[in-house]
Assembly symmetry: C2
Homo-oligomer: 195 residues x 2
């Protein structure tokens, strides 16, 4: 019983189902059928709209990154004080929307998948560049030339906390993660402004 204008709805549903399924499985080894079943459609339809599993995965990753970007932009809106902005960036990284077990697991799997897929790698680099330049932008007034180095370390630290979160059995430790990163930033900024 075809209702018209289904395409965008189906795409969204399928992408959401993909993320959920990957998150639940903890692996990219999920079948189109599983994903389609979770989305409540046939596997043929998933192929119809996305063409291939790879393209569906790519769309899913794009969504994860876009969601994150949106959230970051909102958190930064209006903030002008560099320290406050830095805190907002870090908090966004560990905000519930992105820092749920399922999403983290999916994220991690995409991260590894970038070893094999140029398109995925490009997407990932894009996100990383954005985070990096945000950090540098707000670090510069505080520590000058050291901004690059500190941003680099901060980025790596955030990635590390993510990967650890994925393997944590107990609940989300977002607060602890934010504390770790902010503690590092405070140290680095104090040392940087003293110099």
């Amino acid at each position: 019983m075809p209702k018209l204008g289904m395409e965008p709805i189906r795409r969204q549903t399928l992408v959401a189902a993909t993320i959920a399924e990957i998150g639940a499985a903890g692996s990219l080894e999920v079948t189109m059928s599983q994903i389609a079943r979770r989305a409540g459609v046939s596997s043929a339809l998933a192929h119809h709209y996305f063409g291939s599993k790879d393209k569906l995965f790519l769309a899913a990753m794009r969504t994860v990154l876009t969601d994150f970007g949106t959230e970051a932009r909102e958190a930064l809106a209006g903030q002008t004080d560099p320290q406050a902005r830095l805190r907002a960036i870090v908090q966004t990284c560990f905000a519930p929307a992105s820092f749920r077990p399922g999403v983290v697991a999916a994220w991690l799997n995409f991260y590894v998948h970038a070893l094999n897929s140029d398109a995925t790698l490009r997407l990932l680099r894009l996100y990383r560049r954005r985070l990096h330049s945000n950090l540098v932008h707000d670090l510069r007034p505080l520590v000058g030339a050291q901004a690059e180095e500190i941003a680099e370390t901060t980025g790596a630290l955030i990635d590390g906390l993510y990967i650890r979160q994925a393997l944590k059995s107990d609940g989300p430790l977002a607060d602890a993660a934010v504390r770790h990163v902010m503690a590092y930033l405070d140290l680095a900024i104090a040392a940087g402004s003293r110099a």
Copy 2:
């Protein structure tokens, strides 16, 4: 033409081939045949000695971790000054033997695989506990109660630098990685001893 006492040799060869193949593929989606071919034997032999693909993967991971542990022990032998020991630990993490693209890729894939395999997860936790307690042991005399927290952050930072290394296109940036971690440790120790 069976020569006796082949078992340990075949096991070693197959494990090495597994790591190499996973590293080259950047994924756990490698077939037993590929691995066996690289090892110069039939896939049936791989099954004969390891029973299943999962068990072979597990053995490979065990080897990666064991190699790392050995190297760490050697680097620490004789060192008594806490600062020097900390540096030795960090350097080991990024030493050529463990920090080659292939090995890092394999490591990363095992890391993610721990989401699905309890046995893998246990192995990983073991390694992590060891690194953590090594760090704490040498941080304690320098910063007292803050040792736990700093060790935690250091561990996450190392993981983050690993995951980033895996996706770096250019050559190994071991020196830069060591610098990042040591810079953080110097900051944290200075602040900790001041307190």
